[in-house]
Amino acid sequence: MSSNSKVSYSEVKNNGIGFYGLLGIFGLFLLAGVVAFFTMEHNGHHISGMDNQIVWGLPHIFAIFLIVAASGALNIGSIGTVFGKKAYQPLGRLSGLLAISLLVGGLLILLLDLGRIDHVIMMIKGFHLNFKSIFAWNMILYGGFIALVGLYLWAMMDRSKTAKKLYKPIGISAFTWRLILTTGTGSIFGFLVARQFYDAAIMAPLFIVLSFSVGMAIFIMVLMSAYKWTNRELGDFVLNKLRYVLAVFILGVLLLEVTRQLTNIYATEHHGVEAFILKGGNIYSTLFWYGFILIGTVIPVFLIFCKKLKNNRMALYLAAALTTIGGFCLVYVIVIGGQAYPLVLFPNAEVTSVYADGVINSYSPSKWEVMLGLFGVALTLAMVTVGVKALKFMPVSLADSVVDPHS
């Protein structure tokens, strides 16, 4: 029941320069991230590009992006388990591993960017949690996600009867949990009454659909790369399933984001910030139109639906990569764009002060922030790489003859 009887799994056998070289590259990025953390911890945040106007910067974009992608990566497993689609079930294990890895990567960036990381230990020891804060809930949601997906993996991989019996209920719990988790992540912005660009309930569903699309896109890239490098067979049947689901998710994000922007444009109080983001001629309008709309939406959808590119692997890989970039651009626009636009203290008035009131704030990340962000990405990929080497996450073959019920 838990998976197709024909599918068998094995650890990755690669032992060559390729495998350890890959780990070595990730290791370099991890090392750089650790250096960045200690440097920022020692000097304080003045060495970063962040300030008291742009309080969340590149690390937060990476973190939010990875956390959102984490819950999306689990979707592939959920489609198999919760919705009983047999074709997705062989991908469940890798989807769970990728989900945990993405979440740990994102979470660690957030943690390492804190001003007083030592106080987190006190917070956990003394259980200082404010349950009115969505951040506090998120800590529980993230912890629970890792635990639940861990259980889910066990239910998929263990041969015992108990595991088989629990496979479906745990799968459903993990799926429900991840929906709540992304609602929580979206609500980080949804609950900010002060900022013109946030403070909207639609942030939560937007983040959920965004998680579907970027999670799927990253999964596709990881899957294709892993099967290529391990010389395992990956048939068109699986890829085409993923291909069209990805397209649906990309269009879903577009729908919600357009709805969000339109509701904003309708309200007079948001005219200023909408003009700034959409036609400001700044980095945010560029990232929005070229990054998110063109590169992240139009081109991938074209690559997926263009008849001439059917079964074209390169096109699918490119579509997934562009979707990822587009999603990242959208998160950038939301996080930084929303802060760059000044707080409105007095509507319909110009305000000035020595402290950047009424001016558009600029942000350019320092190398430390870049290093910290890439640290999270490297950690995610390293975890996946070590994971597939150590345990049986990957089906030996995903050839059409193995996974296609009609073949």
Partner: protein, 244 residues
């Protein structure tokens, strides 16, 4: 507990009778001090809600004196490595010009000590909190430096300390990696004194108990009113303005 009750009763009694009778002759400032002094071992209660009323028309120099007095009292803004946008600002003066009418005024903006403070709502650890008497504070001992409160504050009243701080004022602990903002001079208020900015304002800022209808601030507010910045957010701020 019972001892505290007796103390409270005694104070109330004193204020209600003897001191009230003397009010005619004693300067109002002195009277306020008498009424506000809280025994050091008594916890603050929500019977009191501290607030400030700032009359910007009577504030000398557009409120710059307020900023200077605050700096002197708390020592903020002495960072040497942080750039201008990273430096801490507990209070700043903001010049406002209405676009259509060109009507212009200048006011000091700091923590507005909201009744339902967005910063306290979003803080994951409870480090941002509102004291029972309405003063919004950061408990830096448990602040993790996540800056979510800064994202949530509509007034940009909060600053992250971006570098190591030395030579702090004994009553104003400040340190790298934690968030800080106007404390309404809580150390002075607890001793029955007025916040530093109020003392420096030449009477343009009135400080007192918004819950006590006989306090000077309540009387002036009742008679002349006082506006809130971003009243549309419904935060019921403890800091009110006249002349905006």
């Amino acid at each position: 507990m019972s001892k505290n009750n007796i103390d409270a009763y005694r104070r109330k009694f004193l204020v209600g009778t003897g001191v009230a009778a003397a009010a005619v002759t004693v300067a109002p400032g002195l009277l306020l001090r008498q009424a506000q002094a809280k025994p050091a071992d008594e916890a603050v209660t929500d019977k009191v809600r501290w607030g400030m009323l700032i009359d910007i028309d009577n504030l000398p120099n557009g409120g710059q004196g307020v900023v200077d007095a605050c700096k002197k009292e708390h020592g903020w803004g002495n960072e040497t490595h942080s750039n201008d946008k990273q430096k801490t600002h507990w209070v700043r003066t903001v010049k406002v010009t209405e676009k259509l009418t060109k009507h212009s005024f200048q006011l000091p903006v700091m923590c507005q000590h909201c009744e339902t403070a967005p910063c306290a709502d979003v803080c994951p650890t409870g480090a941002s909190f509102k004291r029972a008497d309405g003063i919004v504070l950061v408990d830096k001992h448990i602040c993790i430096g996540c800056r979510y409160c800064m994202m949530a504050c509509p007034y940009k009243a909060r600053s992250l300390v971006h570098e190591a701080i030395y030579d702090q004022k004994p009553d104003s602990p400040r340190g790298k990696g934690t968030v800080e903002s106007c404390t309404m001079c809580v150390h002075r208020v607890d001793e029955g004194k007025q916040p530093a900015c109020v003392e420096s304002s030449g009477g343009a800022i009135v400080f007192g108990d918004l819950n006590d209808e006989n306090s000077e601030i309540s009387k002036v507010l009742k008679e002349k009113g006082g506006k809130q910045i971003r009243a549309d957010l419904g935060l019921n701020t403890g800091v009110r303005y006249q002349g905006i």
